[in-house]
Symmetry: C2
Subunit: 208 residues, 2 copies
C-alpha cells in the first residue's frame, strides 16, 4: 500500500507520529546526561544519535528545543558539555521513563533510579549503570530550516568502556554490551548478531 | 578503561574508525536510491538515517560528498529526489556490498542483485526487495563546520509498505518486516522484540 504526502498530512497526529517514527527501522538508544549551572543533573532518552566523524571523533543527535527535553538544551549551552550513555536491556524501562516531564527541580537520575558518576576535570554526569559512555564537548548546533529541529554536534573528550568489551580491531563487542534498539517511540528490541562483513574494497566487479 | 581525546587522536586509523563507529550502539540500515540525469541508477547503504519530524514527515541522513557515495550526492542535487529503503536479513549481504566503489557507469542495482521499481510521477528508483520504502523530495542540506559532513534532509512524498505490517496505531510491525541493525562498519544484528512502553505522560512523579 502507498501513502502519499497529502494522505500522511491528513492522518491523526499520533498515528502519523508512530508511522514516521518507525520508518527508519532500528534506532540506537542512548541517554544524554547534562548538568545545569545550579548543579542540577538531567537525563533524557534519545534515539537520534548519529556518527558524524571519527577524526576528530564527532557524534550528533537531533533535538527540538521548544519541546522536551528543554533542560538538556539549556544545560548543554551553559556547560558546553554533555554525556552520551548506551542503554541496555537491564535498564531500558527506567531509561524510557526519563522521557516524562519532570519538574525543573527534580533530576531524572534520582526519579528514574540511575547513579551519577563523574570524571575528574569534567562537569557532565555519566550514567554509572551504562557499559559504554562518553563526555563530549559541545562543538556546534545546526538549525534546520525545514523543521524546528537542531542537530547538536559534540566531540568525544573521554570515552569510558569495560576493557573486556573492546575487540582487538577497535570494535566494541555488542554481544557483551547488549545495547537495545528502538522502533517508533517505545518498542524496544534486543539484537542478536547475524553476520559480520569486511570493508568492501575499491573497484569491485559486482556479485554476479 | 578510559580513552582521552588525545589517546583517540593517536590511534591507528582503522582502530579509531571501528571504535567511534561502534560507539552509538545499534544503527538503522537503509539503502538510498538515486538516479543520474543520464538515467543511471545508484544504490548506497547508509547507517545514519535519522527521524527529524513527523509533521511534515522529514527524514535525514549524513553524508560526505568528498567520499563515497559521491554519485548519491550528485544525483540527489540533480533530481531533487531520492528513495530510502529498509534493509532486512534476506539481503543484508548484498546491501553491504553496495559500499564498494563501482565504476560510474555501473548501477549497484545490477552489480549487487537488486530490482529497480518506480512509482508513477517520481524519478528515484526504489528497491523492490525492501518491505518499507519511500520517495523523498530533497528539502535542504546542512553543512557542518566541525567536519566535512552534510546532513541531507528529505520530505516523504510517497511511503510504500505491506498492509499486513501496518499496525492499528500507525506503527510498522518490525517483527514482520525484520529490519537489521548495524554496529560499527559491518557487524549486522537481527533484533527481537523485548518490550513496548507507552508514552510517558506529563508531570510524572518518578519510579520510586
Amino acid at each position: 500500500m502507498i501513502f502519499t504526502a497529502s494522505q500522511i498530512q491528513a492522518m491523526d497526529r499520533t498515528y502519523r507520529l508512530n508511522l514516521i517514527n518507525s520508518f527508519p527501522g532500528m534506532k540506537p538508544v542512548n541517554l544524554v546526561g547534562t548538568i545545569s549551572s545550579e548543579g542540577l543533573s538531567n537525563l533524557a532518552i534519545i534515539s537520534s544519535v548519529v556518527h558524524i566523524g571519527s577524526d576528530p571523533p564527532l557524534i550528533g543527535f537531533m533535538m527540538r528545543p521548544s519541546n522536551t527535553p528543554r533542560h538538556t538544551y539549556t544545560n548543554i549551552k551553559e556547560a558546553n558539555e554533555f554525556s552520551i550513555n548506551m542503554v541496555t536491556h537491564k535498564f531500558v524501562d527506567r531509561a524510557h521513563f526519563t522521557s516524562g516531564k519532570f519538574s525543573a527541580n527534580v533530576s531524572e537520575f534520582q526519579s528514574c533510579g540511575f547513579t551519577e558518576s563523574y570524571i575528574a576535570g569534567y562537569h557532565a554526569p555519566l550514567v554509572k549503570e551504562s557499559p559504554v559512555k562518553a563526555i563530549l564537548s559541545f562543538e556546534e548546533e545546526v538549525h534546520l530550516s525545514s523543521s524546528n529541529s537542531i542537530l547538536i554536534v559534540g566531540k568525544i573528550q573521554c570515552l569510558w568502556l569495560q576493557e573486556s568489551t573492546l575487540q582487538e580491531d577497535g570494535n566494541i563487542n555488542m554481544e557483551k554490551c547488549r545495547p537495545v534498539a528502538v522502533s517508533g517511540l517505545g518498542t524496544y528490541f534486543q539484537p542478536t548478531q547475524l553476520a559480520s562483513f569486511p570493508y568492501v574494497g575499491s573497484k569491485v566487479k559486482g556479485l554476479r
